[in-house]
Amino acid sequence: MKVAAGSGDQPAVGSPNVAAADVRSALDLDAIYAEHAPFLTRVLIRLVGDGSHVDDLVQETFLVAHRKRASFDGSSAVRTWLYGIAAHLAMRHRRGAGRWLRALGVYAEQPPRVSANPADELERARAAHLLRATLERLPFKQREVVVLYELEEMEGADIAELLGIPVNTVWTRLHHGRKQLQELLRKQIDRSAR
């Protein structure tokens, strides 16, 4: 899965400071995949819900990266570049077919009854399911910040770099996203308690 002939002494592909030509020569897709695929897969699962569509998105992300490798100039980190592709595909996916199947799942599996303090494993699984379903109701830009901060435990500066936005924008999106998430979750818990 070599994108371009890489040297044995490869520069760090995660560093934004590597010269563009060096970065391109270091674009060994195997290495990039090994380093970033777990993170991207996990984030995509959190963003669009798990299923075979996540695998499709991961594959498409790396195929797009392979096709567009010539345009990658190293001005951003490889992770930022890949995440940009993955997020774009995930957003497009939300407007496409995938949501219908999830909608079907939502119909068949109504939001589970859940308590604020899940005790056993089944309750924890239900709580996790509820949070993911609720996250999917947030606008994408808020959802991704909430996911990266609350679930991936990334710092604000890292999120800002990953998304290519100012740190204050991260906090603003997080503020609105969390507010909406908390309201939706509380409503669901109240409904379960009744």
């Binding site: 995949y33 996990r42 819900g49 695998d55 594959q59 679930l151 908390q182 509380r186």
Partner: protein
């Protein structure tokens, strides 16, 4: 002005436990390896596809030149195929005939050479057949619109989605049925089929929804979603109070290599059924 970093929700007294429960997402090495394999295969296929595209283009150009040349030489308009070859079967009755599948494209005319006899049987017959009767709404494009029927497909699909969004489920299902009937090879087919199944379920047309889901779960086009579809089918049966069929669907879902979420849902649904 810099906004202060807010405390994470997992430390929140009210909702922290829910957030902590959702943190655990495991991506197994097998899954990563399978995706890497598919990426490699796609890249390799992409290289050979470029060569295929070139070859295909040459063939198409050659074919177009040959057809044009034959029309110029014969001075004829292209004709719609209207004859089929009916070859006699060696050991069958007079009425038994095998319509050769590609014969319809031969466009034989009255001066066509005689078709040789089938081995050990009667001489084959050539007979004229009437063109198939096409219903007026069958969507066969005329010359003006023959270039693309994609806009019509998209129109039907969009109408279905708009109707569904308004809550008019039956018209939405009708539009999708029309799309699938008129354009059976449409690229929107997978989406349309999934949407149709969803709408049937939402419209409480239980039997039709079950039939649709069963068909989708066994269709090659949806093989990657088989476990998800079967799990959904199980949910549908369970909601309908049919635990026996629900357990059967869940069991099939679990045997179809489900993703983590579907596995968990299928097991949970099956447990609920067995507890009843």
């Amino acid at each position: 002005m810099t906004i202060e970093r807010p405390p994470r929700l997992e430390h929140d007294a009210e909702l922290g436990a829910i957030v902590r429960a959702a943190k655990n997402v495991h991506v197994g090495p097998e899954r990563l390896a399978a995706n890497a394999d598919r990426i490699r295969a796609s890249i390799a296929a992409g290289s050979s596809f470029a060569a295929w595209k070139l070859l295909l283009s040459l063939l198409l150009i050659g074919g177009a030149v040959a057809v044009t040349w034959s029309l110029v030489v014969r001075g004829e308009e292209p004709r719609t195929p209207e004859l089929v070859v009916v070859a006699a079967l060696p050991d069958a009755g007079a009425d038994a005939a095998l319509v050769t599948p590609d014969a319809a494209t031969l466009a034989l005319d009255a001066a066509a050479p005689e078709v040789p006899a089938a081995p050990g049987g009667r001489r084959p017959r050539i007979r004229r057949v009437e063109p198939a009767v096409v219903p007026p709404d069958a969507g066969v494009p005329d010359a003006a619109t023959a270039t693309s029927d994609l806009p019509e497909q998209i129109r039907l699909y969009d109408e279905a989605r708009r109707s569904a969004a308004r809550g008019d489920l039956s018209p939405a299902i009708d539009r999708l049925d029309e799309l699938l009937r008129r354009f059976p090879t449409t690229q929107l087919r997978p989406d349309a089929e999934l949407t149709r199944a969803e709408l049937l379920a939402r419209a409480n047309r239980h039997d039709e929804a079950v039939t649709a889901l069963e068909a989708l779960a066994s269709a090659r086009a949806h093989a990657g979603r088989r476990a998800e579809l079967l799990r959904t089918l199980g949910d549908l049966h369970r909601k309908h109070g049919d635990c026996a069929r629900a357990v059967d669907a869940y069991t099939r879902a679990l045997a179809a290599h489900p993703r983590e979420r579907d596995r968990r849902d299928a097991e949970s649904g099956r447990d609920r059924c067995t507890r009843r």
